[in-house]
Structure formats: C-alpha cells, structure tokens
C-alpha cells in the first residue's frame, strides 16, 4: 500500500537546483538542470549510466564544481562553500567507511572534526547507532561487518551530524538481491522516522518505484520528467521515460482524422481510436507513436464481432513469472514481439502458434506525436 506521503512534507523547500550545468571538455554531464526538493521528501535520480545523475549528486555535495547555475539549500546559495559547511550527508556506493577505525570512531568522525565535547560525541554516537540498530557493533571494524551492516554504519555516520539533506549514491548496488529489497524498505522507514530530506541516485527502476516520493528521470544530462512513481508510469511525457519506467509495447501509426478529444489512427490496415489530450499535437497524415502497457492489452482467442477492435496476432511464447503470465505475440502492427501480461493466469491451454486477437481501450494508449525521438528507446 502506498502511503500518502504528501501529508508529511510541508511546502518548505530544502533544496533548489537552478539551471545547473557541468561540462567535461565538450561533453555535457549536466545540461541546465532544475530541481526542487521539499522538506522531508525522498527523491530518486533515475537514469542509465552516464546520464548525469551522480554528477548532480556530487555537485550538491561539493565534490564536483559545476560550470554554471545555482544550488540553494534552505534558500542559501552553497556553490563555492566548502563541502562540510553545506550541511549535507553523503553515503557512497562503496560506503567509504574508514577501515582502520571501529564503528564507533567512524560514526564519531564528523563530530570530532567539529571539536564537539567528548560527552556530547558519546551521546550522539550512541543515539545514531541505536537509530540504525547497530549499538551492539560499536567496537567492531568495518571489515568484520556484512554489506548491510556497513551500509547502516555509513547512514549513521551521516545522520549523526543532523544534515539538512541526505545524499545517497547507488546505496544498494553492492548488495545481493534479498538484502537489497530488505535494505530499501529499511532505509525508507528510517527516512520517514528521521524525517530527513533525501536525494538518492539509482539506475534501477524497481528500486526507484519502491522507495521514492518522486522520481526524476534523467537522460543525457537533463531531467526528462520529475513526478510521482504512478504519474511517471501512467503519463510519461517522453518516449525515454516511457521506456525507462516499466515495460511497454510501441506501435507506429498514421493519423487519419483528428476530432476535438479523439483521433482515428491507422495501424497497419486497422483503424483504431485514440484520445487526443490537450498537449498532443496531432495533424492528419502525420506520424504518431503509440504505446500500450502489457497489462492493458487484452488477448482473446475469440474473433471480434464486426465493429469491435481485434488485431490478429500469433503466440510465440508464454512465460510464467509466478503471479503474472507473460504472453509474447507476433503481429503485423509491430516489428518487435508484443508483450501481454495477465494477472494470476496459468499457461495451460496456450500453445505456440495459437491465433489471438488483441484489443485495448482508447484511454490506455499513450500517444507521442514525434516518433523520431522514439529511436532512443
């Protein structure tokens, strides 16, 4: 169940990134990025490797000097300020724990650098270790801990300084599958409990969907879309976002007729209806790219009645994935196999070569009027 997290953050803005750019030679790692993060939010920066997500995170931490733009924390410009004066916590993918120091000394490091009183340090370290449930490991060395335990210490080392902003760089990438799922939920729960504004980088869409309040999908140094996980899935604004969040089937078509709220499109001899939203720029005879999610397509072995939608296709494979059955079909409307997923179905009675007819609701079609940009998918 998805909790309504909006109630937990006020309108207060903790982080503002404005027009931020970073060039390495001729390549642009960040290209005029804007991002606003409200207090208490957990936002993930999602994208393929090289999209600029880590550069953005490191710019905020002060480990990278941007070429232009502005970064504000609680309204205060932080570019040009030393990393430790920005009041951010940073958790590295490899955790970067000091191997020659005990867990306690690792967590106390930042407080010692601030020359806090010994008693204050002891108290804060105890509290931070308790928050991550590692109080019994205070005298161990990082090398004696498991990956998940090391990660908790890395979190404790950051949150002990009460940062305004917690930055996590691919924090789960080094963990195995089962531990990763567990740590994702644990970090999310910790983030809720402490209420700390968090920005985290990932290339894993499932991870982003699982724990984020909002996801910023990045590509080629730009944020393509920033939205809640549900909005990104249901209303991707670009073909890149469509392909990066969830599976999708893509069909190229030609616009026949445009009406006020809908349009008729030709799809390899079949005439189908789509909804034309206010921002879709469709013109008769123009090319259009349509996408339908696998769970939104109905595959029936009964031929359609006249006037009903039914695009013929042949089954090439039926893949059983536990709770979901995935049918792969070939049809003249697409070069690639069409994927149809059925909740809780079993593969018995479905054979390779079976003829089926595909249909969907006009409202389930995602429309992109500029098919050329779909080449990136």
């Amino acid at each position: 169940m998805k909790l309504d997290s909006k109630a937990q953050h006020s309108g207060e803005v903790d982080l503002e990134v404005l027009d931020l750019s970073k060039a390495y030679g001729t390549s642009r790692a960040l290209d005029r990025v804007d991002l606003t993060v409200r207090k208490g939010e957990l936002i993930s920066l999602l994208g393929p490797s090289g999209c600029g997500k880590t550069t953005l995170l490191r710019s905020i931490a002060g480990l990278v000097d941007p070429s232009g733009g502005s970064i504000r924390i609680k309204g205060k410009e932080i570019l040009g300020i030393a990393p430790h004066q920005r009041n951010v916590g940073f958790v590295f993918q490899s955790y970067a724990l000091f191997p020659h120091m005990t867990v306690r000394d690792n967590v106390a490091f930042g407080l010692k650098m601030r020359s806090e009183r010994r008693s204050t340090i002891e108290l804060s370290v105890d509290r931070a270790l308790e928050t991550v449930k590692m109080q019994h490991f205070a005298h161990r060395y990082p090398g004696e801990l498991s990956g998940g335990q090391q990660q908790r210490i890395a979190l404790a080392r950051s949150i002990v300084l009460n940062p305004t902003l917690l930055l996590l760089d691919e924090p789960f990438a080094a963990l195995d599958r089962a531990l990763r799922d567990h740590m994702q939920m644990e970090v999310k729960a910790l983030q809720r409990r402490v209420g700390i504004t968090t920005l985290f980088v990932t290339h894993d869409q499932d991870e982003a969907l699982r724990i984020s309040d909002r996801i910023a999908v990045m590509n080629a140094g730009k944020i393509e879309q920033i939205d809640t996980p549900i909005a990104l899935y249901k209303r991707p604004r670009t073909p890149f976002v469509l392909s990066f969040i969830g599976q999708s089937n893509i069909f190229p078509g030609k616009v026949l007729e445009v009406e006020s709220t809908s349009a008729k499109v030709q799809l390899n001899g079949h005439v189908i209806h789509i909804l034309a939203g206010p921002d879709a720029t469709l013109s008769p005879n123009g090319a259009v790219m349509m996408s339908v999610r696998p769970e939104r397509i109905t595959a029936s072995n009964v031929a359609p009645q006249p006037g009903q939608m039914g695009i013929p296709a042949r089954v090439t494979d039926a893949v059983f994935l536990g709770g979901v059955l995935e049918l792969h079909l070939r049809s003249a409307i697409s070069d690639k196999p069409i994927i149809v997923s059925r909740q809780g179905a079993d593969p018995d009675g479905i054979n390779e070569g079976d003829e089926m007819w595909l249909s969907w609701q006009p409202s389930d079609v995602l429309v992109f009027s500029n098919p050329s940009s779909a080449d990136r998918t």
């Binding site: 480990l63 191997p99 650098m113 060395y141 090398g143 004696e144 990956g147």
Partner: protein, 289 residues
C-alpha cells in the same frame, strides 16, 4: 584458482622457484656464516668473544655505530618527508604526473652511485654551485661545510635511496579508496586532518616497507659515506673495510660486520611487528566490499 590448489601444480611452481631460492639463501648464508665464524676466532684459532668485547668497550667504535644509526635515521626521516608528496601525487594525479615523477625518481638509479657521489662532491664543495648561490643570494656570508660532513652524507643517502620508499608508498596510497578522502572532507576534515587521519594510518604498510628499505640500505651504504663523508665521518661499513682491507684484521672486521648485520635484522623484525599490528583490520574483509 583451481589449478594452483592442485598439489602437482604447486610442486611444479615450487620447482621453478627452487633454483632462485637456493641462490638467494646461499648468497646470504655463506658470507654471514663465514663472517660469524671468523668473528669468534682468536688469532691462534680458539673460540673467543674478545673481538666483540673490544668493539663494545672502546668509545671510538661505539661512536661509529652511533654515527651509522644517526645518519641512517636522518636519511630515513628526510626520505619519508620528501616521499609523501611525491607518492601522493603519483598515486592520485593521473598518468601524466605519474610518469614524470617515476622518471625523476628512477633516473638516478640508472647511474652508478660512484658517479653520482662525485657529482655531489662538485655540488657540495666550498666553492661549489650550492654555496656560491647561497652566498650570492645573501643567505650566508661564508660557505657552509657540506662536503665531508654529516649533511653531505645524509643528502647523498636520501638521493640514492628515495626511490626505495616512494614506490612502495605510492602503491600503498593507490590502494586507498579515494572516496575515503571525499567522505572525510564532507565530514569536515581539513587537508591536514585527511592526511593524518586517513592517508597516514592507511599507508603504514607501504611506509614501513619503504622506511625499512631506506634505513637498512643507508646503514650498510659504503660508497656514499666514503666519498661524501671522507675521513671525518666513520660509519660501520667504512670501518669494516678499513679493518679488513687496510689493517688486515679479519676477525675484528667480521665482528663489526656481525654487529651491523644484527642491527639490520633488528630493524627488519621491528618492521614486521609494526606492519602486522597496522594491518590486522585489513585482513578481515567483509563479504561485500
């Protein structure tokens, strides 16, 4: 590593290494055993500790041992101070810097120590370029005594043995994850504290290895003290040579070399125990690195 765990393969590799191991052992054990034997023999071929007694009861000889220890200590200390910036730059500043530093550090090794020492004689003498420059700059009024002094010997030793510490130190620093320094920076550590809290403790294995090499090489160096120290600075190796080659006192010369050998082995043992203490945390790697 399946192949290596098979015992026949292990014997194969062992056999290949065998001749080299035998050569190294023979070349180490034979002279040490010969010297040890001769150091305990009196002129009429009886067992005696008289030579050692002579060495340890004569202040002049003890002063020689002290000279050796002191000069090797200074050379090591100065090498450490010079090596850290070089090693850090080599490990962190990319291949360009790496090659420049490697070349500058290694180049002297390609020239004979004898030739280099004569070079230093020219540079260090009273009317040499160093003294002339310092006088011209008004730093000093009269030439400093650099040649045939401790200063000259230490300068020469540092020049000869610096690569022995720069290379192990650079490889130790290279193995330190750069993100540890970034983490320390974000947590508020200044450049100085990043060095003392992160780089220094984590590079101790390389530091200990390099410092041991420089110290043991310096304390047993002959050419540099002989050419840059002259008559004034007597050290253990020059004393051994004098006893054996000039005075033809084989037994006493052997006893002096045994003292030197024991000092060097002692330093090696200290190195092993320090290295073991500072690396015990790194031997316990977690399942996820």
């Amino acid at each position: 590593m399946m192949a290596l765990s098979r015992s026949s393969a292990r014997w194969g590799y062992g056999l290949l290494a065998g001749p080299s191991i035998a050569f190294m052992l023979l070349a180490f054990v034979t002279p040490v055993a010969t010297l040890a034997a001769s150091s305990f023999l009196s002129p009429d071929k009886h067992l005696t500790i008289a030579h050692y007694w002579r060495f340890f009861s004569e202040p002049q000889y003890l002063m020689t041992l002290w000279n050796s220890l002191r000069l090797a200590f200074y050379a090591t200390l100065i090498s450490i101070v010079l090596a850290y910036p070089l090693a850090y730059a080599m490990a962190r500043l990319g291949p360009g810097w790496r090659n420049v530093i490697l070349t500058v550090t290694i180049l002297p090794l390609t020239i004979s120590v004898v030739i280099r020492s004569f070079g230093w004689q020219i540079l260090l003498r009273n009317g040499g370029p160093i003294n002339q420059s310092l006088i011209a700059l008004g730093v000093i009024d009269e030439p400093l005594r650099l040649l045939f002094s401790e200063t000259g010997v230490v300068i020469g030793l540092v020049h000869v043995y610096l690569p022995f510490i720069v290379l192990p130190l650079a490889s130790a620093i290279e193995r330190i994850d750069g993100r540890l320094e970034e983490a320390a920076m974000i947590l508020g550590a200044s450049a100085f504290r990043r060095f003392t809290n992160v780089i220094l403790p984590l590079s101790v294995p390389g530091l200990a290895a390099g410092a041991t090499l420089v110290f043991t090489a310096s304390i047993s160096a002959y050419v540099t003290p002989a050419l840059l120290g002259g008559e004034q600075i007597q050290v253990m190796p020059t004393m051994v040579a004098q006893q054996i080659l000039t005075l033809l006192d084989w037994s006493f010369g052997s006893a002096v070399s045994m003292v030197l050998t024991v000092v060097s082995l002692g330093v090696l043992i200290i190195h092993w125990s320090v290295a073991a203490r500072f690396t015990n945390w790194s031997s316990q790697e977690g399942p996820h690195k």
